[in-house]
Structures are given as C-alpha cells and as structure tokens.
C-alpha cells in the first residue's frame, strides 16, 4: 500500500514544471538513444544528458525553487529519470558492443584444419591391450587374476600337472632348461612352457573353491617362423567348486567371447588330449568372419581352433591338495598371442616382438 501512496504523490509532483522538464528530458534522451549506433556518439549522448554540465544537472539546478516538502519527491523523480537513462545507455552500449563483436567474427580467416598441437601420442602393445580386456571380462565374472613365476620348476610345469617323466612334452626340443643344479623335489629349472603351473600354485595357496585366470608369458624351444615364436602369451582359466560341469565351461566361454568380440560367438568342443585334464577337449569358436558358414579365414570349416580345455584331472587336484571327491572343475588355456593376431589380422607373429615402431604405432 505504501508504494501506491508514493506513486500518487509522485504523480502530483509530475504536474509541476520540474516534473515536466524531467519527463521531457527522459523522453528526449530515450528517443535520441534509438538513433545511436556507435560508442563515440553514445558517449557524447551520455555527457549531453547525464554529464556534469549536462541537461539533467541543468534541470536539477531548479531544485532550489521547489518547496521544501516536495524536495524529497523531486529528488526521487530525478534519480529515477537518471537511472532509466543510464540503464538505457548501458543497454545500448552492450548492444553496440555485441554487434561490433559479431561483425568481427566474419573478419580474417582461421584455419581449423591445421593439425592439433597435442603432444606426441603413444601406443600400448596390442598383446597387452587385449590382455587387459580379457582380464576385465573375467574379473567381472568374479575370476581372480593370478600370477606365477616365469622360471618354473619341472615339478610345477610338468609333474604336478600329471605329465609323466617320459612324456614328449618334456623333450629338450620343446622346453628351455636353465643351467642350474637339479633340486631333489623341483627337478630342473625350466622356462615355463604353459601358464598351467599357476593352477597348482593357486590350489595350494587358496584351496577350493577357486575361480581364477592366470595370464602370462610362456616359452617354447621352437624354431621361429610366421606362426611360431619362442615367446608368446597364454591365458589359463580355472574354476573349481562342488558341481562344476562341462556345460558351465561352455557357458562361461561363450559369455567371454561374445563380450570380447562384441558379437554373438558360439563354441564347440571336440575330443582332445592333455594330460592335466580328463575329459579333455579342443575348443573351437564360430568363425567371426562368416559366422559359421565357412570362409577362407576358417578354411571353410566355419570354426576356428581356439584352445585346449577339460575337467581338471584328479591327479592335478591331488597335487594341488584339493579333495577330488568333494570338488571338481575345469581348466582351459588359450594362446592370447594367437587371439591378438586373429583380432588385428597380424600375418606374422614375429612382428609382435620386432620392436618396430612402424608396426607398434598402428595400435
């Protein structure tokens, strides 16, 4: 209510001469403002109306003739007019500046196609890039990522895995032996030929149940060619629990491959022989190129050989100190290096260890 009373009093005041002058001033100022389109003119206008010697100051000189009781109201009115004009000037100023900036956007030429100045971009080796993905998928299924020594003992690499002394796998032509005195229990030191010894180490350390993968570097004393190298990477998997079956292996592998390749992949099992599993099988997955119809990549079979797997042999569980009457499970091992070669269509395994940046920078 108080506000409306003030307004009515102001209305009274507006009838006086000063009021008229102020109102006229405001109207003139706003009208002149409309025509202004540069900052210099705007400055002149500001000085003309609001400057120390400007029109508003001139009017206010008449304030001394205003009756004392109307002075506050007259003051208020003049302030109001001043604010309106200066706000309008400020708004005009921002508008002119905006128009100037907008005009300037079209001036000159900026080449956005020139290369970025970001620092040199490096690369992660394709084997390790894929390894991390593989580990992440299994980790999300609750598999622990386990590890073991790369220089192993004959015991862990062979004996504990149910590979007898006279098995061909132990031949000098497959295994690198380290020059060292033979140990009564461990035998010789060997560069591990497979990641499977980690199975035994993990069983002994953690017991059952067990859910792990063990990726890592393995070594074979093999002549090097486009598809064989003396060093490559494998991933071992192991799942031991009360009623783990072949069907579960199928399930887990399909989940894994489907996630890794980001498309539905199925697996098939064929009989295969590995001393540390029984039953043992070769696992193929449906060709990613032809989806099982048969193409050059899969040699028209529709399937690609992928890994060896099987139900853990009771002798291996025994070596790992797990009761094979109570627990059972499966293990698998696949060549990560081969998977990487397939994935990136790398024709020669030796490129991976070549250290050649012309190769490495592609990943």
């Amino acid at each position: 209510m108080k506000n409306s009373q003030k307004v009515s009093k102001l209305a009274e005041l507006q009838n006086s001469t000063m009021e008229k002058q102020l109102n006229t001033l405001q109207e003139d100022a706003l009208e002149s403002l409309k025509k202004i389109n540069n900052l210099e003119k705007l400055k002149e206008l500001e000085v003309e109306y609001l400057g120390r010697k400007g029109k508003l100051t001139e009017i206010l000189r008449g304030l001394k003739d205003v009756p004392a009781e109307q002075k506050p109201l007259a003051g208020q009115l003049s302030n109001k007019v001043k604010t309106i004009i200066s706000d309008a000037i400020e708004a005009k100023k921002q508008e002119i500046e905006r128009i100037d900036v907008e005009k300037s956007l079209n001036e000159g030429f900026f080449d956005t196609t020139a290369p970025s100045t970001s620092s040199q971009i490096g690369t992660i080796h394709p084997v390790f890039e894929t390894l991390t993905e593989v580990e992440n998928i299994f980790s999300q299924m609750g598999f622990t990522i386990a590890d073991g020594p790369e220089i192993e003992s004959e015991y862990y690499n062979f004996t504990a895995l149910n590979i007898p002394d006279d098995h061909p796998a132990r031949d000098m032509q497959d295994t690198f032996f380290v020059e060292q005195t033979q140990h009564p229990e461990h035998g010789h030191q060997v560069l591990r030929t497979q990641t499977s010894p980690v199975q035994i180490r993990a069983m002994k350390e953690h017991g059952a149940p067990l859910r792990l993968i063990a990726p890592g570097r393995v070594f074979r004393n093999e002549a090097t060619d486009a598809s064989h190298d003396s060093t490559f990477h494998q991933v071992e998997g192991l799942l031991i629990d009360k009623d783990i079956s072949i069907a579960h292996l199928k399930g887990v592998l399909e989940q894994f491959l489907t996630r890794l390749f980001d498309k539905k992949v199925s697996v098939r099992f064929r009989p295969g022989y590995f001393p540390f599993v029984e039953p043992g099988f070769e696992v193929d997955f449906s060709c990613l190129i032809c989806e099982g119809k048969g193409c050059r990549v899969c040699k028209h079979l529709g399937w690609v050989e992928f890994m060896g797997a099987g139900m853990v042999h009771p002798n291996v569980l025994k070596a790992g100190e797990i009761d094979s009457e109570k627990y059972q499970g499966w293990a698998f091992g696949f060549g990560l290096t081969r998977l990487v070669m397939m994935r990136y269509k790398i024709p020669d395994i030796r490129l991976l260890t070549s250290g050649d940046l012309r190769f490495l920078k592609q990943f």
């Binding site: 490096g122 690369t123 220089i151 002549a223």
Partner: protein
C-alpha cells in the same frame, strides 16, 4: 595318418549313401580331428577316356597332329603333339573345363583354343600332366590307356578305379589312442559312432603244431612284454600284385616287394608293426637285448647309427639286426634273393623306444605306433594276418612251424567303478543310466555289475594300456559319444564374490595409460633373454645371469637382468625412421639367488633419445615422478648415485631408494661407451627403470582436503648466477630454508648458459611464492624475506642478477 574308406569297408558296412563328409565330421567331433577328406581322382574331373578315330597332319606344324577323338557322346577335334599317337588308341582327354598341369608344372584350366590356326577342343594328356605314373613313356609320349579297354566317355577316375576316399587324421589328436593306428581300429570306432555293424577280425591261417620255430631269447623282459615270431620258407620275393600296391599307395605307403609290402599292409590294418628278416642272415636265433656300448648298425635307410646301452636291439648271436620297434638293419632285410623269412610281431614299452628314436633322430611308422603303448594282445593276431596274406600272394610259401611267443606281460583287465551320478554332474547333462550303458557297450566296454548309481566296468584290452584307467576316462567316453554338441551351455550359479586385489596388475595398467596415452611413449614387447654380445655391449657381467642350457641362438642365451640391452636394440631398429624415440616395456627380470627359484621383479623400463646437445635425463626423471603421482605414491628424494647399472653414466644418474633401502627406480644418461657400442654416438639417450614390484609396496598417499588460501600470495622472481657445479636442488633448499614459514613454493623457470653469462657459470631463475594463511603479506615482510633469500644464495656462492 591316412585312412582309406574302401579299406575300412572291409571291416564295417558303411552304406554307400552315407557321406564321407558326415563321417569325417562325426569322427572330428567325437574321436579325433580329420584334417582333410581327399577324394581320389578329384583332380581328374572332366577328364575322360577318348578313342582316337582319325589322325591327320597339322597344315602348319610338322610336330603337331590333328586327332579326331571319340569321347562317347561326341567326337572332338584336338591338336596334339604326342609322339606315340595311333589310331584306335585309348587316351586321356581333358575336356574344356578340366584342370591339368601343363607340361607337369603350370596348373591350367582347359579352354577352347586355336593352335597354329587350327581349333582344338581339349587336350590329349601325358601322364605327368594329370599326375598319373607312366614309367615307360618317352619324352613326348602321351598316356596310352588302351590296356584299360574302357568305353570312350568313361570318366578317367572310374576307368582307373580311383574311387576311394582318404581321411587324413591329425596325428596329434591320436596320441592317447593306441587302438586307432590302423584301419580296423578306426572301423571299430566308427561302428560305435554310427551303429554300422563291425566284422570280427579273425585271420584263418592254419599254423602247424610242429616244425621249425624261431629261437628267441628276451634278455630285457621289462622293455619287451611280448615277442612273437614265425618262420616261413619257400617264398618268392617279387613285386606285389596291383591290388596290394594300390592299397598301400592310397594311404601313401611306398612299395618295395611282396613281403615288406605285406608287413606294411598288416600294420596299416591292425596298427601292429611287423618286421621280416631274411632267415639266412640270422645266426642261430633272435636275442632281444640292450645295445652294447658304441655298437653300430646300418639301417634300412642306409644310415649308420652308433648305439648306446639304453637302446634296445633285436640281434642274433653275433650282431644287431634291428633297432627294436624303430627300424630294421640293412643286412638282415628281405631282398629278391631271400627264400626264407622270420617275421617278428613284438610289443615294446613305449617310453624307451621313443627315447631311442629321439636320441638317434629316426622316426618311422613303426615307432609312431609303439610310442603310443600298443596292446600286447595284438602280436599274434597281426602275425596270423600276415601269414594269411603271404599264402594268398605267394601260394607256394610254407609255414615252417608254430609261432614262438615269448610272453612277459601279465594281463589283468582294468576294472573301473563308475558313479553314474558323478558322470552326469561332470558332464552337465542328464544322461540316463541306460544311455550310459549303451555307449559303453558300443565301445566294447563290458558292464560286469550294474547298480542304481554305479556300474562296474571292464575296459577292453585295446583301450587299457594307458588310455582308459580311471573313472574320469570313462566319463570322457560317455561325454564324447553322447556328443559334446548335445551339452547346452550353462552359467555357473556361484555366490557373489569379489576377486582378490591385484596391485601389481593395477599398477601396470596405470603405467601403460600414463606412459602411452599421457606421455607419448610406445610400448614394446621384447624377449626375456639376450646374448653375450648384448651383455658385453652394455658392460654387464655375464656371471650375474641365469643361462639357458638349450638356447635357440647366440642372441638368446642369457635371462635378462635388465631391459636396457633389448631396448637399445629397439632403438637401433627404429632410430633411422624415428630420431626422437620414447620406448618402454613392462616385463620381469631374473636374478639368480641362493634359493632354487630366482627373483623375478616386474620392471617398467624405458628409453628416450634426443639430439646430442639435449638432456633427455630430465624427461626420464619426469616419467618416474609422473608415474608415482598416477599411483598416489610419494617418492623419496633421489640420491645422486647409481649401483649395479654399468651401462649408465655414473655421474649422470640418480636412484630412488625406499625407506628400507631397496631400489625403487633409477634414471640416467647412457654410458658413452654403451652409446658407442650401439652406434648411437650422435645421440643423447636416457633410461629409466622402475621396479613396480617394489614401488607398489610403498604406502599410498592419503589425500586430505586443505583449506583453499584466502589471502593472496606474493611472488618474487630471482635470477642468480652460480658455478656449473652448484646443484639446483641445493639452491632450492637454501631458498626454502631462508623463510620456512612463508615460502609456499620454489620453481626453477630458467637454467641458462651462454652469451651474457661468464664461462663455467649458469644463470638460474626461480619463481618463489610467499604466503601467510591468515593475512596479506606486507611489503616489508616480502622484502625482508627476499633479503634473506639473497643472503642465503650468496652464501652458497651465487651472484644475484636482479638485486
């Protein structure tokens, strides 16, 4: 191993409409991998028998003839250069579309063509052009097939009876199946997979009960569980009949003479290797014994081998006749002069035979079977089969007397208790007991006792030498015959569980991201070994290394104790294409210890190259700091020294030590000698090595919020001239010491040598921030602090430039 479908059909009724591909597929999915199915005569498609009706000279070439040739449904005009062409001759005609090997070399597909202006609608082939032996052909002769008497138009494959299908098995997938190394064993397996009836293998030879038998002594019964042998007289050694030769040829066996061919035939049939000796070359009798030291034998392949006492030989009373289970000796072999033979059918222990073979470097079909552990029951069956065939091929032959059978094996059938419920849970499919018993029966396993949840199973002798010994082996038989494809995938129902922590793995992943994606490094993957040359080039000591006994090459003899040698080789590979290299690898190093197992530390090591006048040392140092920051680890201040790193410049190196004194990381310029050894004199190269295994054992920095400063900082820039040997760190230290309360940070922003600065001097410029937490600093406080800083720097030997 090659298996012929026609041969299999002698033992099993495979319906003619059952496709070989389906059979191969079933074998692959349930038994062993078949690599290829070879259709005999496949390469002869569109090649037919033709009869030459008329020959007329080519108008334009003396060496060519125009042959009008009847191919049944039509008559073709063919231009031919064959020297032996005659009218009414039967020839092989490659029709348009056929594939031939032009002059035995280039593969071409036949097209209608003009030869010297005369149209030719096909080709009359020489033997070599269609891969058919024609031993009597002259240099320009075509294949004369008149002897076949086939009607014109008959497909050549049919006319030559090339209608067999050959299965090529992957030998590796048969390693555990001694029973599958012959046609009969494969037929038996197919019978289980298909239910096609199997014939019983029972040779019907009459063996005399009296007469002359071989004298055999087995001195090493543990290595030779069974030795069966018989004498056959009055034989005529000659070329084998065509049917026998073509059988052997179909499975890629060479042919020699009727007797040797028969032993090979029986081996291909039964899996049991046989050997025939010329009886006249055997002095007195057979002795199965260990070889004498340095005893020599010349093998059938005409190679002299020196034997040792762990080799088993078949000898007479004078000399070795054969290397047991592997190969015969040249001098006791069957030749055309042979009239009496001794046929050996023995069983040898697998491992010693295999060891002998790998030591002597001889692999034979015989060894390939013995090393699988053959069933000793086979010896006499195979022997009888060989006799049956000798009498067929050489009817005048006479079996001299009974089989000598030295039997040192004590056969006890393998009996296994099978828990059928266990089988079901392991396979993951609900297979009924009835189905289980059907499967086992189809494989010739005998169920001697059947209870509700368990069977007592007797394993057939041909599966019990090593293949099927425990319950799990039976479960495999059930699973594979039932069909792995019948097992539906299932997701295990396991309790939620958080996998164990893997700090080393986490650190390697973080390191890769930091170095590759943050700092622009390329990751390499190098071998875990290097050679003497690398060790020498890096000034390392050979004795610090583990060595490989049987290395592949001179470059791969020693296990790495540092990544730098291999990284330097990477630099050599790349420096021409990429002069500014930033490489790293994360891998283990191997240090021998007093314990059996060496220490394997996971190191992140890297190398940076730059032009000679720069100092990539600081980039390497930055990598270490950067990585520590990514891993939330606060590094201790490095010490200006380095140990056990001979390839580092001893005065341009630092080491980060853990509180317990372990090396966390080191950083250095490469030793100038090493740079020279790797032809890198024109570069400056720095290296860094971070022991990730150690680094992650440090406690992570705990982060706590600190109040954001409310009052402004005052900053002072100071430029000070020092002798070159004054360390930046000591300057920073004295600056900080001059007012520990107010100095918030000290940063070096310039380190200059050159014009304007005296020789042997450098100008260091620092930006120093001063701040008090609760007030704005007064000008007096700032200038008093500055004065102290000046004083301290001067005490250190500095000259302030902007005083």
């Amino acid at each position: 191993m090659l298996i012929s479908l026609n041969w299999l059909r002698e033992f099993i009724d495979i319906p003619s409409d059952f496709s070989p591909e389906e059979l191969a597929n079933r074998l692959t999915l349930k038994t062993a991998e078949i690599e290829t199915v070879i259709k005999q005569g496949k390469h002869l498609d569109d090649i037919v028998i033709g009869k030459i009706q008329k020959l007329s000279p080519h108008p334009d070439a003396d060496s060519l003839t125009i042959a009008t040739t009847d191919i049944g449904d039509q008559s073709l005009q063919i231009v031919c250069g064959g020297a032996n062409l005659k009218e009414n001759m039967l020839v092989a005609v490659a029709k348009i579309g056929a594939t031939v090997s032009w002059h035995g070399t280039e593969t071409i597909t036949m097209k209608k063509t003009k030869i010297r202006g005369v149209e030719s609608h096909g080709m009359i082939c020489a033997g070599e052009e269609i891969d058919i032996d024609d031993p009597n052909a002259g240099p320009k002769d075509i294949l004369d097939l008149t002897y076949l008497k086939s009607a014109p138009g008959t497909p050549l494959a049919t006319a030559l009876s090339l209608n067999d299908i050959i299965f090529e098995f992957d030998n590796k997938s048969l390693t555990h199946r001694p029973d599958l190394w012959g046609h009969y064993g494969i037929a038996r397996e197919i019978s289980a997979l298909t239910k096609f009836p199997l014939k019983v293998f029972r040779p019907t030879t009459q063996i005399p009960e009296t007469g002359k038998s071989p004298q055999v002594t087995v001195e090493t019964p543990e290595l030779c569980p069974r030795y069966s042998a018989i004498i056959v007289e009055n034989i005529v050694v000659e070329e084998s009949p065509a049917w026998l030769k073509s059988r052997l040829k179909s499975v890629d066996h060479g042919t020699h003479n009727n007797i040797v061919d028969i032993t090979n035939y029986v081996m291909a049939e039964t899996g049991q290797p046989l050997h025939a000796f010329d009886l006249d070359n055997i002095k007195e009798g057979i002795v199965v014994r260990s070889a004498k030291p340095k005893e020599k034998i010349t093998t059938l392949k005409d190679e002299e081998k020196t034997l040792s006492t762990d080799n088993l030989v078949i000898a007479d009373h004078e000399k070795p006749l054969a290397i047991a289970g592997i190969i015969g000796g040249k001098h006791s072999g069957v030749t055309t002069k042979t009239t009496s033979i001794l046929i050996e059918s023995a069983n040898f222990k697998a491992a010693p035979v295999r060891n002998t073979s790998s030591k002597l470097g001889i692999r034979t079909d015989s060894l390939q079977r013995f090393e699988k552990s053959l069933d000793p029951h086979l010896t006499t069956i195979a022997l009888k089969r060989a006799l049956e065939m000798i009498l067929k091929v050489c009817p005048q032959a006479k079996i001299s007397g009974p089989i000598t059978d030295i039997n040192n094996f004590d056969y006890k059938p393998v009996i296994i208790k099978l828990n059928t419920e266990k089988a079901r849970t392991k396979i993951g499919v609900n297979i009924s007991n009835k189905r289980i018993s059907e499967i086992l029966a189809s494989l010739h396993f005998e169920i001697t006792e059947e209870k509700e949840d368990s069977f007592t199973v007797k394993v057939p002798s041909f599966r019990s030498t090593k293949d099927v010994l425990i319950e799990e082996d039976l479960i495999e038989e059930i699973a594979r015959i039932h069909g792995y494809e019948e097992i539906d995938e299932k997701i295990p129902r396991l309790p939620l569980h958080l996998p164990a922590k893997t700090p080393l793995r986490d650190a390697t992943i973080e390191a890769r991201k930091t170095l590759s994606y943050g700092l622009g490094f390329n990751e390499v993957l190098n071998y875990s070994y290097y050679g003497i040359t690398d060790i020498k080039n890096c000034l390392l000591s050979e004795s610090d290394h583990l060595t490989i006994k049987n290395s592949l090459s001179q470059e791969q003899t020693h296990m790495i104790i540092s990544h730098l040698p291999n990284l330097l080789k990477n630099v050599q590979t790349n420096i021409k294409n990429f002069p500014d290299l930033k490489l790293y690898e994360i891998a283990r190093t191997f240090r021998p210890t007093d314990d059996f197992f060496p220490v394997e530390d996971t190191y992140l090591s890297g190398i940076i190259t730059s032009p000679k006048n720069q100092s990539p040392f600081y980039d390497s140092k930055g990598v270490i700091e950067h990585l520590a920051h990514s891993l939330d680890i606060k590094l201790p201040r490095p010490v200006p020294q380095i140990t056990a790193t001979p390839y580092a410049h001893p005065k341009q190196a630092i080491t980060y030590l853990s509180p317990s004194g372990a090396t966390l990381a080191k950083c250095y310029h490469l030793h100038p000698l090493v740079l020279r050894n790797f032809d890198l004199e024109n570069f400056q190269v720095s290296g860094f090595e971070i022991n990730l295994s150690e680094l992650i054992s440090l406690k992570k920095v705990s982060k706590t919020f600190k109040q954001i400063p409310k009052f402004p900082a005052s900053s002072i820039d100071i430029s000070v001239i020092f002798s070159l040997d004054v360390e930046v760190q000591s300057a920073i230290d004295v600056i900080k010491k001059s007012n520990q309360a107010l100095i918030e940070s000290v940063a070096l922003f310039d380190n200059y040598q050159g014009p304007g600065i005296p020789d042997n001097k450098k100008a260091l410029a620092f930006k120093i921030n001063l701040r008090a937490a609760e007030r704005t600093l007064t000008d007096e406080e700032v200038s008093s602090a500055q004065k102290n800083i000046f004083n301290n720097l001067e005490t250190l030997g500095g000259t302030i430039r902007n005083k």
